[in-house]
């Protein structure tokens, strides 16, 4: 462990300023399409995620227990300065529009200065960049800010990352290997799902608790379970035949869409009216305008396995602005018992705290896990 004589641990922070910008404008990731994202009206979110993380460290009283290394400007220095932390800048990008090489070079510069942990703000792509430079010499920890965060190196939120750091200082969290997963973004944007495993990266680990219960003795095949879920949803939708149906990403919702007779995109948000598809892979604007014309709507989503997010990961098009128009009663959450077994809590992530609170006030939310079978889960 790299620890200074003054007892401070040396850690580094690198921010990918454009991470997460693709989401609301229905681009899946920003690898190579940052300009397109800006053109479509995307705004940066990584900086505010970094601030959330640093503020939480401050609140926990541990911000100055670390000696900070970072990269210049938007890549970390700015956020640290805003939170009143002193940092040493060991890398400066050449151009204003930063690239994946900048993330890699910054990470390399941290290592040569000797540090104990590299914290990054970004998505799966950023994780890969950091990992390729750090190469398991020290653990890395992701603060989720991308469109895709499937890798096992992310904390569930900026605040959770800060708490993990506190546990790390207290000796309660240690380093463990997590899978680095990313999608082929080129294929992803076309609606194809090609997940690749880019190996194992060292990360900080908080012991997690997964209670399986006895549902796992259910002998039904995966296909039968999906069939049951789809029948349940179709039956529920039949009660409001004129409602706009907004379908989120993922294979569970895709299956339901197919059973309703649509060519549902695997990764996009699709909308249907009266059993007819009216928008494929819709962006936030399209969804809002459809909602303007058809205020009665039903939303079908499935949580991201293990992390449990139903909004705010992989479906940023379903933004706070959209969710402000949706009644909680009109959200149908679906998941197979197998997925639920590894997903203890359901979460949402919005930039508008009011929308987050609307969910959290509910405390428990039913998840359709089979035909006429639902599981009550804690939310928030």
């Amino acid at each position: 462990m790299v620890e200074k004589e003054n007892g401070k641990r040396i850690v580094a922070l690198v921010v990918n300023p454009i991470a997460g910008m693709g989401g609301k404008v229905a681009l899946k990731g920003t690898d190579g399409v940052a300009e397109e994202a800006v053109k479509r009206g995307a705004t940066p979110i990584a900086h505010s995620k970094a601030l959330h993380f640093l503020s939480k460290l401050k609140e926990l009283g541990i911000l100055d227990r670390f000696e900070w290394r970072t990269a210049a400007g938007e890549m970390g220095e700015g956020a640290l300065r805003e939170c009143g932390a002193i940092s040493t800048v060991s890398y400066s990008p050449q151009k204003r529009q930063t690239t994946s090489e900048d993330t890699q070079n910054a990470s390399k510069s941290f290592l040569s200065g000797g540090c104990a942990l590299v914290i990054f703000v970004g998505g799966d792509g950023t994780a890969r960049d950091v990992h390729s430079a750090v190469n398991n010499k020290v653990p890395i920890l992701g603060i989720p800010s991308g469109v895709k965060m499937h890798s096992g190196v992310f904390a569930v939120s900026p605040e959770a990352a800060a708490e993990l750091m506190a546990d790390w200082l207290g000796g309660k969290a240690g380093a463990q290997e997590g899978e680095l997963i990313d999608l082929d973004e080129e294929l992803y944007r076309k609606g194809e799902w090609k997940v690749m495993n880019f190996g194992l990266a060292l990360t900080l680990f908080e012991p997690s608790y997964v209670q399986l219960g006895k549902e796992m003795y259910e002998a039904a095949s995966h296909e039968d379970v999906l069939d049951g879920i789809a029948d349940h949803v179709i039956e529920a939708l039949a009660k409001t035949p004129d409602a706009l149906v907004i379908m989120g990403p993922g294979s569970t919702v895709e299956f339901i869409g197919k059973k309703m007779g649509f060519e549902k995109t695997l990764l996009g948000v699709d909308c249907a009216l009266g059993r007819k598809l009216v928008a494929k892979d819709a962006d936030e604007k399209t969804i809002l305008s459809l909602l303007g014309k058809h205020p009665k709507a039903k939303v079908i989503v499935s949580p991201i396995g293990s992390q449990g997010f139903i909004f705010g990961r992989g479906n940023l098009q379903l933004s706070s602005a959209v969710m402000r128009l949706i009644d909680l009663q009109d959200i149908i959450i679906v998941a197979t018992p197998a997925k639920l077994a590894s997903t203890p809590d359901i979460r949402v992530d919005f930039d508008d705290q009011e929308v987050v609170d609307k969910f959290n006030r509910k405390k428990y939310i039913p998840i359709v896990a089979g035909y006429h079978s639902s599981v009550m889960r804690k939310i928030g």
């Binding site: 012991p207 209670q211 428990y364 089979g370 006429h372 009550m376």
Partner: protein, 394 residues
């Protein structure tokens, strides 16, 4: 293509073996007793459900023998046709008296009671709310119903209440709450009074599976007596296969419940009734429980002593409130190893590992027995200490 009709048997079994999910059966050579002969060794048994050591009680054995002499070996039919014996009716009367209820019905097993009755109590347009850790026989019973199932987080009253509200908002015709009384993995109790209170608020029916509570809680009468909510539980379900030391399922409640149950439970109507010896032994078990309160008393004394000593040595015994005492070990491999070593040391205690419990919650589950003496317990404790230290569990 030529089909291989039974190829899957071998393939699927192999799959289980590869994952170490297959059951390896141990064989008892002789009666189920606190010290029993298991595969050639005399061992202290800490994993049977024979809590009160009644399976070997002379009065039960005597009653069984007598019934064979008077009524024969089998019942000859299902109850509904020609297999309804006076012994069955006497037993049911005795169960009702014992449970302080109007009426009772005896099933061939507890599993048959859950699987046969649950799907009849709710149907199309109804809602059934079930604890996520309920026993598999409840899960299977509920799979046969057209009612909407809502699985609530374990013993989480707020979660249950939201499920009740949801069912109410959906205008469910009937609502039923089903819970184990004692949860067999952790030995914790259902919050029966709170559940009954919530049920009352929503006009819901309550069904408690007290398989591990009868003979143990409430002086042996079960969870209803323990929490003083006897009249508020609409269906008390239980088994004779555990503390009562025999075999068979039971339900107790109103006469209306029993009339409904025996006319509608397919497991009861379409399966041969219990042999005379079984019914007679069950009756004798209830008799022993009423006349010899010392068994239940000793069970709890043994439990208190064992828990205290185990915790004193530094073992984590979870949050059990019953004679089920889990010894929390964390990793599956450690739990398996510990069980193996304990067996070599003369103590038979089973590991409970993933997927029966969460990956980091592997344990050895011990079940106390009223028939164990202080010396037996000390011997078992010494073995736990020795093996625990050896495997660095304490």
């Amino acid at each position: 293509m030529k089909r291989d009709p039974c190829g899957f048997l071998k393939a699927e079994y192999q799959e289980l073996v590869d994952k170490s999910f297959n059951w390896q059966l141990r064989t008892l050579e002789g009666p189920s007793a606190p010290r029993a002969k298991v595969e050639g060794r005399k061992v202290i048994v800490l994993c049977s459900n024979n809590y009160l050591n009644l399976s070997n009680h002379p009065k039960l054995k005597e009653a069984a023998k007598k019934a064979v002499d008077s009524h024969g070996a089998g019942s000859g039919s299902v109850r509904a046709i020609a297999g309804n014996m006076d012994l069955h009716l006497q037993l049911e009367k005795k169960i009702a008296e014992f449970k302080h209820r109007e009426a009772a019905l005896y099933y061939q097993t507890g599993f048959a009671a859950n699987a046969g009755l649950l799907p009849q109590l709710v149907g199309e347009g109804d809602a059934v709310l079930t604890d996520e850790l309920n026993h598999g026989s409840i899960i299977d019973g509920l799979r046969l119903t057209k009612a909407k199932r809502a699985i609530y987080p374990h013993n989480d009253l707020a979660g249950l209440e939201s499920a009740l509200k949801q069912a109410d908002a959906e205008k469910a015709r009937r609502i039923m709450i089903v819970s184990d009384g004692v949860f067999s993995m952790d030995g914790d109790l259902a919050r029966a009074p709170d559940i009954c209170r919530l049920a009352e608020d929503f006009g819901a029916m309550t069904y408690f599976d007290d398989a591990h509570g009868e003979g143990v809680l409430g002086g042996g009468r079960g969870i209803g007596t323990h929490f003083n909510v006897e009249g508020k539980i609409h269906v008390e379900m239980g088994t004779f296969s555990k503390a009562f030391g025999v075999v068979g399922g039971l339900i107790a409640g109103s006469q209306g419940l029993v009339n409904f149950a025996y006319n509608k439970s397919r497991t009861w109507l379409l399966s041969g009734s219990a042999p005379p010896a079984t019914a007679a032994a069950c009756m004798a078990a209830l008799d022993v429980l009423e006349k010899e309160p010392e068994h239940v008393k000793r069970l709890w004394e043994n439990t208190a002593y064992f828990k205290k000593e185990m915790q004193g040595m530094g073992f984590d015994c979870g949050h059990s409130e019953t004679p089920i005492t889990p010894v929390m070990l964390g990793e599956s491999a450690l739990a398996k190893k510990m069980s193996e070593r304990m067996f070599q040391e003369g103590v038979f205690a089973l590991p409970i590992v993933f997927p029966m419990v969460a990956k980091d919650k592997a344990r050895i589950r011990t079940i106390m027995n009223a028939g164990l003496t202080k010396d037996d317990l000390n011997e078992a404790l010494r073995a736990f200490e020795k093996v625990g230290k050896e495997l660095k569990a304490i």
